[in-house]
Point group: C2
Chain length 458, copies 2
């Protein structure tokens, strides 16, 4: 099992009092059966592809794993760079893992582990052009990721980078584009077939924000030189853990803490890893949490406008940015810390100013000790200000533990969706904006909407 430690003393009512604290022993026991029931129900419902619960099985039964490994292994050594064209769930998972597990400055190394990876997750005209200026199309692969092939941002970037390759390498562009898309539906699959691109599947039963362990995430992660099997083995450990009773189950505990805090007015759920390498974990979590749980109606169709608001923070950096507000502002947040017990490197703070007394407490210690002291200190101080927080400690930041953590948060989100009784897997609230975009871009079939926008002065 992964060496994870969940420290909940800073959410306990013994520490925070009854208004803001939780009587963990009592609540864990009171909710135990309900949570067991949710897990059993999710396990049962996952056989229905429409339930969008395919993420549960990705760690153990990953249909694409061998194909991805083969593709990565046979790759021509001339390739140096990978551009990932994807937005939201089609980029955040790989971004999180690649940033956490490659060399922290991989893109400044001439040589290193895996390809340099560049995520095009926006349609900024200056940035699209800028990337095309600095990369060499002769040695660059492009992975276009869209389930439907109709995502406007991804497909416009696809058109641009296809042209960029074609202009430079001619017909060879077909060997440099990899498409990750639905096995049957949508427009990218037939397009890729016609062009002869290498393709991988977005499983129909897996939604974008739960897709990091499908080919959506795994292909870029593999090309970045990261061990997929370790990542999946860690995620499988979370799948094993979810079966345990709450007393031995940090995932159920974490989900329940989030729920109880939310119901007591903690409208904001902060994720604050103390690790620069984990900085995009918060962005991935923000999408997972916001899009899964922010829903207008519940499963009976009643208007509820549910949704805890996720907030990304980074320790120790944001001690100098957001912690003033966390400590003294409205008591409307619950903070989840993530810390790493053992960093890859023990990096010493040298005694480079032996004459300066005020710095002597730092000299000859390590950054390792400093960053974790800051995390303990901040957690303790936030609790001293009466605000709930808890800490997830990973033994180390490697593929195994990160895979575990990703599946941990997916389960936590799924359980929170059950607890708040909403549909965790849809996203009806983004449709209107998409339609307005189509109308403003002059897409056929949206003429009436365009008229409506013109009349509104847009």
């Amino acid at each position: 099992m992964p060496m994870i430690r969940l420290d909940t003393k800073n959410i306990a009512s013994e520490r925070l009092g009854k208004e803001h604290g939780i009587d963990t022993a009592r609540e864990f026991s009171a909710w135990a059966k309900k949570l067991d029931g949710f897990v059993a129900d999710l396990r049962k419902r996952k056989t229905d592809p429409k339930a969008m619960l395919g993420w549960i099985d990705l760690p153990e039964n990953n249909g694409e794993l061998a194909a991805i490994e083969t593709y990565a292994a046979q790759l021509d050594e001339k390739f140096t760079d990978l551009i990932v064209l994807g937005i939201g769930g089609s980029s955040l998972g790989a971004l999180t893992v690649v940033t956490a597990l490659q060399h922290p400055y991989r893109n400044l190394q001439a040589q290193g582990q895996g390809l340099r990876v560049h995520f095009v997750d926006n349609v900024d005209p200056d940035v699209i052009k800028g990337l095309s200026e600095v990369l060499n199309p002769q040695t660059t692969l492009v992975n276009v990721i869209s389930k439907s092939g109709t995502t406007a941002e991804t497909m416009s970037a696809y058109l641009a980078f296809k042209q960029w390759l074609q202009d430079a390498v001619g017909e060879a562009y077909k060997k440099q584009i990899i498409a990750t898309t639905d096995p049957e539906a949508g427009i990218l699959r037939p397009l890729a077939r016609r062009e002869g691109y290498t393709t991988f599947e977005v499983p129909p039963s897996v939604g974008g924000r739960f897709s990091v362990l499908s080919a959506v995430g795994l292909l870029p992660i593999a090309l970045a030189g990261i061990d997929l099997r370790e990542l999946l083995r860690g995620a499988a450990a979370a799948n094993a853990m979810i079966e345990k009773p709450i007393a031995e189950n940090p995932i159920k505990q974490s989900a329940l803490i989030q729920y109880l805090a939310y119901r007591r007015g903690k409208a904001i759920s902060v994720l604050m890893p103390y690790s620069t390498r984990l900085r995009y974990l918060s962005n991935w979590y923000v999408q997972l949490w916001a899009e899964s749980l922010g829903k207008a109606v519940n499963r009976d169709g009643s208007l509820v406008n549910e949704g805890s608001t996720p907030l990304a923070a980074l320790g120790a950096t944001d001690q100098h940015s957001q912690v003033q507000l966390f400590n003294e502002g409205p008591n409307n947040k619950i903070v989840t810390f993530v810390r790493v017990a053992n960093f890859d490197n023990e990096t010493l703070i040298p005694d480079a100013e032996p004459g300066v007394a005020q710095l002597s407490y730092l000299a000859k210690q390590s950054f390792n000790r400093l960053i974790n002291a800051e995390q303990s200190a901040t957690a303790h101080a936030i609790a001293a200000h009466g605000r709930p927080n808890y800490t997830i400690e990973l033994k180390r930041l490697d593929a195994y533990n990160l895979g575990f953590l990703l599946q941990f948060f997916e389960w936590q989100t799924a359980l929170m969706g059950e607890l708040t009784y909403i549909d965790t897997y849809n996203q009806p609230g983004v449709e209107l904006g998409k339609k307005y975009t189509y109308a403003l871009m002059g897409r056929e079939g949206y003429e009436d909407l365009r008229k409506e926008l013109e009349e509104a002065g847009i």
Copy 2:
């Protein structure tokens, strides 16, 4: 005057109804005198150095400007890289400006405008070590920024990078370290004097989060090859604008809108620029807003726990992450969009798939049109869901307009502080965490606190 356009139709009660909308004409007129009074009072109080209002004068009377320009102009051409050691206000301003105004992939270019800049704003042992591995100490400058010289994160990084330089270049390290610190107080000033470093000043009357236009921000920005005079000229335009009556004053309007929304339960203030180059503007804004406005007591000492929670978002990217929650979750947010009318490049979407009908609405258009259509569509959709939002449009993203925008947000924050009647310029809520860190690191004088922590099991 800068070509800024404030579009407030999506916060108007005509659009949103009375509960969530604002009767802008009536409110602007009702609050006009009060806001004029705040501005007059801030102008008056700035002569008192303890009022920490020195940021107001930085655009027009910048004591360091000439010295910074001279330093940048005479710099040995061998230097390729700059490491900025600073945290919070000592890094976020320059990070915002450098990211917005250098080539978007400057650090991947062999040659380009200005030095490559690397911000060390955390104490992650793997990242500190990683940076030291990829840079060449022979051609790297280090700018250490700390008002007091006692910031644990910055000074531990200083010890590490001083040693790194010294090991590689010997005594020449003294020519490669630049210290930005208080002119008199603190420990970094005498240290720098003894070592013979080039030094610049953190003005005593300017707090970290308001320091971007002091040497704290200006030195790295200058070394990145950005025109300081244009930046300051833009900020001066905001200083001119603040004197105008509210009807002609987007800054006062924006501050008042934030205040009225906050008082009506919009606990969260989202900043969502539609420009990848502006992605760190949101982080800078988060610190400015959170640390200035999140306060336990008001100016009479009464417990108020004030503070709107700032939330960073990025368009169009976060349409696929956070917008579902914005539209359907609790109506507890106000969204400020920033858009750029004219990007530096007109980047076309080529017709690279002429046979695919579903993509034809994109082909032969531009990313410029697409990103701004997405912004208009999202703003309109959020309002259609009954949630308040407004849009700041910059004519273009250059030093002049960005300088304007930074000073705009500083004034907005200052006015919000007056409206909520708190001390905008202190940060008492971070002291306890610092002390706990000292105790855990074994700093002399914190033995009692350490005992307390040990007894609490930390």
